[in-house]
C-alpha cells in the first residue's frame, strides 16, 4: 500500500514539476503610451537663403501607426567600398512589417505649443518606424478652421540677405500617409511617451519665397500651385526626416 502511495505521489510531483518548468508568458505584452506632437524651430537661413520667423503652425495629424520595420536611411560612406567592398545598388525597399502600435484619432495640433494626441494602443517589441497620416481636417477635427481644409498650415515672415521680406501663408495637403519615419526603440513596459517633433526647418528649408506671387489685400503671400515654393513645401512636409521621433522616459503610463 505504501509503495502504491509513493508511486502516485511521485507521479503527481513529476507532473507538477513538468508543468511548472519553462514557458512562462509570451514574447510580447500589451501596453499603451502617450503620443505628443511638438515642433523644433527653424534656425538660420534655409538653403535658398531665407530666414523665417514662424507666427503660427498647425497640423492635422492622425492616425499614427508604429511598425517593426526599420526606416531606410542614407548609407554612410564606407572606406571599405574603395578597396572592393560590397557595392549596394540601392538600399532596398522599406517594409513596415507588423504593426506594433497605433493611435487612430485625428487632431489638429498647434505646433508652436504642442499637444498630446492621446494614448497609443500598442504591444512591446522592437520598433523600427512609424507612419504619420496627415489628413485633411473635418469640421469636427478643426472646428476653428485654422487649417482652411489643408493638412498643414504655416504663417510667418521670410527675409533674405538682400532685404527681401515675404509675409506668407503656406498650406499643403498630402495624398498619402508619410511612411517610414524613423523610430528605433526596443520597447518594453517602461514608462514613457513618444514625442514627434516636427522640424520646421525641414518643412521650410527648400522654399524660395520669391516665388510666392499671390499677395492678398493684407500683403500676405500664398504659394501658387506648381510654384517652386509650393512644390518645395510639399517635399518638405513629405520628407520623413522632418519628423524626429523620440522616446521620452519617465512619463506615467
Amino acid at each position: 500500500m505504501m509503495k502504491r502511495r509513493h508511486i502516485l505521489t511521485g507521479a503527481l510531483a513529476l507532473a507538477a514539476a513538468s508543468t511548472a518548468l519553462g514557458g512562462c508568458g509570451s514574447e510580447s505584452q500589451r501596453r499603451t503610451f502617450p503620443v505628443e506632437v511638438t515642433s523644433t524651430p527653424m534656425t538660420g537661413a534655409n538653403e535658398r537663403g531665407w530666414t523665417v520667423t514662424v507666427e503660427s503652425a498647425h497640423l492635422s495629424v492622425g492616425p499614427v501607426r508604429f511598425f517593426e520595420g526599420r526606416a531606410l536611411q542614407a548609407r554612410r560612406f564606407d572606406w571599405y567600398t574603395l578597396i572592393g567592398g560590397t557595392a549596394h545598388a540601392h538600399p532596398g525597399h522599406y517594409s513596415p512589417g507588423d504593426a506594433l502600435g497605433e493611435l487612430l484619432s485625428t487632431q489638429t495640433v498647434d505646433l508652436l505649443t504642442g499637444a498630446t494626441l492621446g494614448d497609443a494602443s500598442a504591444v512591446t517589441g522592437e520598433y523600427g518606424s512609424l507612419e504619420l497620416t496627415l489628413p485633411a481636417p473635418t469640421t469636427s477635427t478643426d472646428a476653428q478652421g485654422v487649417l482652411s481644409g489643408h493638412a498643414m498650415r504655416v504663417r510667418g515672415t521670410a527675409r533674405n540677405a538682400d532685404g527681401g521680406e515675404v509675409r506668407f501663408d503656406a498650406m499643403a495637403s498630402l495624398a498619402r500617409p508619410i511612411e517610414g519615419v524613423r523610430f528605433e526603440k526596443s520597447l518594453g513596459m517602461e514608462p514613457g511617451r513618444v514625442r514627434i517633433a516636427v522640424n520646421l526647418g525641414t518643412w521650410l528649408g527648400r522654399i524660395d519665397f520669391a516665388t510666392a506671387t499671390d499677395p492678398d489685400a493684407d500683403g500676405v503671400y500664398t504659394f501658387p500651385a506648381d510654384s517652386q515654393a509650393q512644390n518645395a513645401l510639399a517635399r518638405g512636409v513629405e520628407d520623413t526626416t522632418a519628423y524626429v521621433v523620440t522616446w521620452v522616459e519617465g512619463a506615467a503610463q
Partner: protein, 726 residues
Amino acid sequence: MCVTPRRGACAAVCPYVPVLLVTALSSCVLALADPGLPQEVASDPTGASTDAPAPQPPEPPPDEASATAEEAPVKSTVVRGALPARSASEVTLGRDILDAAPRRNAVDLLRAVPGLVASQHSGEGKAQQLFLRGFDALHGQDVELNVGGLPVNEVSHIHALGYADVNFVIPEVVQSLDVTEGSYRASQGDFAVAGTVRMDLGVEEPGVHLIGTLGQYGQRRLVATVRPGEDAGTFAAVELGEGKGFGAQRSYGRASLLAQATASLGGGLTVRALGGSYVTRFDSPGVVREDDLLAGRDTFFSAPLGRQGGSVSRHQLLLGVDLPRTGTGRTKLEVFGILSDLRLRNNFTGFRVDERGDGLEQTNDGMTLGARAEHRRTVFIAGRPVALELGLGARRDSVEQAQRRYRESDGTFFSDEIDARFTQTDVWGWTEARMPLGRWSLRLGGRADALGVEVFDALAFRDPRYYDGQGYARSAFGVHLGAKAGIEYALGDDADAWRLFASYGDGFRSPQARSLSEGERAPFVSIRGAEVGSRKDGEHWAVQLSLFGSQVDNDFFFDHTVGTTVYTGETLRSGLSAALQARPLPGLVTSVSATLAHAYVRASNTLLPYFAPLVARADVGWDGQPPWAWGSTLSLGTGLTFIGPRPLPFDERSATVFLADAHVAIRRGELGLRLEVSNLLDARWRDGEFVYSSRFDPGAPASLVPARHFTAGSPRMASLSLEVHL
C-alpha cells in the same frame, strides 16, 4: 438571413441522390440481415476496421479463446469493456455515459472525451476546432478521428490540415467512443499527434425509434432509427434538422443518413457494410471585436459581416470482411470510399487587407479511396505467447480546391488565389507485438508511412512581369518511420489490479500538398511522445492517471483565421490527466476527467498561444423506476464542462468557461418525453477567442495592432423531444 448565392435547382437536388441510393442500399442490407444474429457477433461490428482501431486484446491461447467468445460484450457493468487498454490513458466511453448528458450533435459527443475541447466557432456545419493535450489541433491536424472505420480527417484540406468534420454523425447511433490519447499505438496513423478518437456505431435498442424535437431559436429535429434484430451494429438512421440559431447569421439545415449491417455468411466469414450520406447548409456569424463590444458598437451575439457560412456534403461507403479464422489468426479486409465537398465563406478580418473586403471563399472537393488489411495472431517465441498485430493499407485522396476573394458589397469575386488539384497517396504498414512476462508485459511496434503527392497548381507563376506562362505541376515523395513501445506492470494478479504503464510513440502529421516543391522529400511533422501512468479497471470503478509529454522538432502554428503559418521551432508539451468512471449503484453512471497541460516554445521560453491548459468534464446520469412514477422510467443527467483560461498572445488569457447541460426524461412503454437544456446557467461564454488585426468598419481608420476577437457561445437553449419506441 441567407445571403449566400443559391445554387441551381439541379445542384440543390444532386446532393440528395446519394442519400437516396444509400437509403436503398441500407434497406436491402437490413432486409437481408439475420435478425437473430448472435450477440457476440454484434458486439463489435466494426472490429478493428480502421487504421486507428480501438486496442484489441491479444489473441488468447487456444484454451482461452472459447471462454472469451462467450463473454457478453454489449452492455455490461464492466467499466472498461471487453478491450484491455495498452496505455494508461486509453478510455472507452460507453453509451450509458453518452446518455448521461444531452448529446444533440457532434460537439456534445466530443465534449465527453477527457481533455478534449471542441469549439464550434463558425456555424453548425463547419468542422470543430479541437484542443487536446496542449495541442491546438485546429480543425483536426493533431487529432485523428474515425467513425466506424471511416477516416474523417481530410489530407491537405484547403481550410486546415487534417480537416475533420464529424457533423455527419447522428449522436443516437454512436455506441461508444474509443479514445487513445497520445500516439503510442502502431495502428494510429496520420494526424494522430495528440490522440485518436474513434466512434463505434450501433443502436442500443431493437425496433423503430422516432424522435421529434422542438426547441428554442427554431430548433427542429427529427431522427428515425431502425434496428431490425438483436445485432446492435445493424441499423439504419436518418436525421433531419434545422434551426434559426441564437443570433443573426446562425441558421442551418442538415440531413444525415447512416446505415450499417453485419452478416455472417457461414464458415466463419463475416461481412460488414457501412454507408452514409450527409448534406448541410449553414450560416456563420463570424467574429466580434472585443473593443467593439465594449464600445457598444456590437452586441455579444452580433454578426458584423454577412455572407459567411457554407455548405457541405459527404457520402461514404465501407465494405469489410472478416475472414475465417486460421488457427489463432484473424484477418480483416476493408475497402472504403468517401466523397466530400465543402464550400466555405469566411471573413475574419473585415476590410483589413482590401477595401473591397477580405472575404475568402474556399472550396474543397475530395474523393478518398482506401483499403486496409489487418491480421492478428498469437505466435510463440521462446515458448512464450506473443500477441502479434499486423496492418497494411493505402489511401488515395484526389482533391480539387480553390480560394477566391469576394467583394463584401455584392459577393462577387475579384481575385483568384488558389486553383489547384492534387492527388495524395499514403501507403502504410505497421506491426505491434506484445509479450506477457508474468506481471510484466512488453510491447514493441513500428509504423512506416510513405507519402506521394502530385500537384497541379493552375495559378503558379502567373505574374506577367516575370513569366510568360502560368501553372506548374510538381510531385514529391517522403517516408515517415515511427517507433512504438510500452511496458506494463500489474500490481496484482486480479484482473482489476492496478497496472502501471510506460509508453512511447512517434506520431506524425502529413504536410499540405500545395506547399511541396518539385522533388522535395515530403516533410512530415514528427512528434515524439511519452507517457507514464497507472490505471485500475474494475467492475464498477475505473481510474486512470497519466503524465504525458511530447516534443515537436519544428512545429508550426497556423492561424487559420488569417491564413498565415508561423513556424515556432521546437515545442514541448507536458501535462497530467486523470479520469474516473463509476457505476456505483444500479442506474447511476459517472464519468469525470481533468487534464492539465502546458505547451511552450523552447527557444523563446514562451507559451504557445491558444492551447487549453485546464479542461475538466463531468457526466453524471441516472435512470430508474421510482415507486411514485407508476412504472415509468425516469432519466436525469447532467454534463459539466470547465475550460480554464487559455493563453493568448501578449500575455493575455481567454475567459474561463463553465457550462452546465442537463436533461430529464420520462418513458412509459412506447412513449417518452425528454427535456434538454444546454448552458443551463445561461453563461455568456466565448466559444473561440482570437488575436489578430482587423477592420470591420471600412469608413474608419484601419486598426493594425492585433486585437481580441471572439465567437459567441450559445446561450441557454431548451428543447423538448417526443420519443416513440416501436
